[in-house]
Amino acid sequence: MNQKTSILNLTEDEWVNPGNRACAGCGLGIVYRTALKALGKNTILVVPPSCLTVLQGLYPIAATKLPCLNVVFASTGAAATGVRAAMRARKKDGVNVVAFAGDGGTGDIGIQALSGACERGDDILYICYDNEAYMNTGVQRSGTTPQGVVTTTTPIHGKSQVKKDIPAIVAAHHIPYLATASAAYPLDLYDKVKKAITKKGPKYIHVHTPCPSGWGFEPSQTVKIGKLAVKTGLFALYEMEDGDFKLTGPSLSALSKPRTPVKSYFDAQQRFASLDEEAIAQLQHQVDQTWAGYMG
């Protein structure tokens, strides 16, 4: 199934209320709204502390029109397992059990519970929205913060380590469906969520999610920045169905045309301000090597 949804046939159902507490220009606002459109009513969400906790609002008012369980930081994968176990125990079929967590909650503190759920083969969809730092607590570095990025805990010189490749770690669990997506390409995300929920077992979607306040760009530029990440090749869109890797959408078409230089992505955001020309050249070289691998 390779559905191509367009803006003309996208469902008008909304599961996130407007006026929620997301920041202006929040990439997660797009990701959450789009994913929930694809999931529909028969869905139970599991959410650890993250920007999404803030977006969803303060008791007793919630922005989400689907049942949602807020859980402790390190437990998301296991909590999703627990919801699914209860659905099986209560013989409730046809319910999507969906974990929605940030990059720190997924790849740092939550990786053990996620790995456990994937290894057990639990029938859940795990969506990681990757805004590349601990944004909810005020922009601290995470394992998924890219090299060179200035955060409140990598001040002045920027992060010296490379970005942790969480999808590759998850792929090592040999799950039936894994994909990357971007807040800047919501219809691609929509189709990937739709496809994921047709599969039994663990599914994982890693979504690149620009953050205006944390990355240092104008709220009007969220989609532009997200597209630049894909067009420069810094973030590749792909799918792995039963282990078969293939680039998708704009990343697939990028194979046959020149990529935008990474410098234009770095220059558009304050968080890369510490990168000098040499560092940029190095990062460009790394991207070129990765893409030579895709082409090979």
């Binding site: 139970i44 969803q56 859980v71 627990g82 919801v83 209860a86 659905m87 053990q112």
Partner: protein
Amino acid sequence: MHMIESGNVAAATGVKLARANVIAAYPITPQTPLTEKLSEFVAAGELAAEYIPVESEHSAMAVCIAASSAGARAFTATSANGLLYMNEQLHWAAGARLPIVMCVANRGIGAPWTVWNDHQDTISQRDGGWIQIYANDHQQIIDSVIKAFYLAQTVSIPVMVCYDGYILSHTYMPFEKPDQDQVDAFLPPFTPENMLDPDRPYNFNTVTLPDVRPDIHGQTAPGYMEIRHCLHQDMRGSIQVLEEIDKKFQAAFGRGGHPFVEPYKCEDADHVVVCMGSLSYHFRDVIDLLSQEGLKIGVMGVQLYRPFPEKAIVEALYQKKSIMVFEKALSYGNQGALYADIKSALYPCENRPEMKNFILGLGGREIKTSILVETVRNAVKHTAASDDHPMWVGLKCQE
């Protein structure tokens, strides 16, 4: 049916009879045989449950929290460091008002590593909002597990059933296994008012403000503090609920009648030993020996530790000459937790008894009857010298 089995199997049998339908666990000594037995029940088709072999205790409680929030009867078991690894989840389960039942085969805490019994693991978790019941023998383990599910779902508060690692978990003792029909008649099905359900979407455990706040209909919804006050009030109320459940259990199965404390020869006693778990039955031999010497002495086991049953404790102890509290745990730098609680309960009484606190059996140090006899005999002779610092029983060398 009459059975001779280990304490862990008694616990597993209780869980099976209670028809828990989501079970998650991670191996830790000395709890492991309990969950091994449950996985066997599930694999053999004797128990219709989802058995989730999680990758940690933190995740075991995560599965229980989520499954319970989604309407399942959830169970797990652990010991020692496994319980501590769950710490934030324990507070979460209580705050979320989930009727999870957990067995803890009590074990000492590292460092240094110990696998043997004391009570430091569960005592360290006394303030998290879980009901804590301490079983004294195998019969109390199986009966307490069944009653725990009833109590938990009636008051929407999780319940810990604690029993001594090895001393009870691994020893074999005879006990009565209730019939499934009788347990089904006794224990109502779990039908929560609110659960995760796409037809009635709620957002559970959202960020809650320090102050109250109107909902979308203009009704004032509680703030964090009201929600926590409600937990406390319901904890207090669960004392009476447990008494009622115990009465029903006694009517159905012929066992019970002492849900809070279990006194032995206390009525006419001048002196009373207070302790928890299997030690309170061990002490009966000590009491018998000292009674033969003419001493008016009894022992009282505390079975319900949280919520603390002050009324039952004061009724049993307030006219005594002296109280000796023996504990396998303490609040380091202060005194035993049970001792402090009992002192506090007796404070409003006139003619307060003399009180002494003894720490023993840590990390599985053998508790010999002869040492207990000698310790109590000496303590009774020196009733006037009330000493707040706990006395350590059975130390063998200067460290």
